[in-house]
Symmetry: C2
């Protein structure tokens, strides 16, 4: 199947927000299924993405995969996947890129679109391409491993740590005064 | 002990590069000890950090902890710790901050400087503060846990994946033509 990869544009933000919602597989709960059924398009997410990604100094960059009109999805979309990334930095290695989301609609999988998106992101000038994957997501883990990626959690023991909500508020409260 | 936290400036890049080298504890090998003895200051690292962090659109931001002259380190430094961070993005949560490095010289530990740096970084307007830690680094893991952080690798099963060197080159080679 022919597809093209191009940078997301401001007018792509709507379909992008739809794809961002579709990609969420966790938890695979009836509640989420219901949520997706009744809110297939999140206006909140759309306006946030439009504001944050398509401004003077965007918080992220994004590539989308687009198929021709004749191959459009069963819901009528030609944008069928995306790779959303931003730059990070290693004090030992320099500029790196972090692939936050990589998603292809299920009906378009098996056509190399996911790999195409990832490879295009890798062309960004950087010394590393990093991402995160859940341990139960074997297809994704196998996909990255087959492409030669290292699992740094398995090989070196790296753990993700997060402060948010109350724990983040507490840090802010404890910050030394200027 | 009194200390101040302030933004790193261009002229701080030299001591910053020294601290970046000091923070590397892995592997705790004789080779690294020798390396640090003969190259206490890396000109390469210094010039990279100066270029990348103190330009028009810096790749990272950095806070340093500074003690008064009377408390300077045994090597004569008043900048005794740093927290280096950059912005990331969640398509569900928005702007986040990633604490890439948090380091305090061993002789200054136990004075709340590390916590002070982290709390100051947390004051950056964001919905999440994230970082990574190695599983053998119990003091750091305990420190974050005591502050209410979640270990997402333990609780949700997130793994770090990295492409670099040959695996990154291969991705670039495989990228679809424009």
């Amino acid at each position: 199947m022919n597809y093209k990869i191009r940078a997301a544009r401001k007018k792509t933000a709507k379909i992008l927000s739809l794809l961002c919602m579709c990609k969420v597989q966790i938890p695979p709960s009836p509640l989420l299924k219901l949520f997706k059924m009744y809110f297939p398009f999140s206006f909140f997410l759309f306006s946030e993405l439009e504001r944050d990604g398509f401004c003077q100094n965007p918080f992220f960059e994004c590539l989308v995969a687009e198929v021709s009109d004749e191959h459009r999805s069963k819901d009528g979309h030609t944008v069928v996947g995306y790779g959303l990334y931003y730059y990070t930095y290693s004090t030992w290695k320099g500029r790196s890129v972090y692939l936050e989301d990589l998603y292809v609609m299920p009906e378009f999988r098996g056509n190399g679109i996911g790999k195409g998106l990832m490879c295009k992101v890798a062309k960004v000038k950087c010394v590393r391409l990093q991402l995160a994957v859940l341990d139960w997501n074997s297809p994704a883990r196998d996909f990255y491993a087959a492409k030669g990626a290292q699992d740094l959690t398995d090989s070196e023991g790296w753990h993700f740590i997060r402060f948010d909500g109350l724990s983040l508020d507490n840090l802010v409260k404890d910050a030394p005064k200027d």
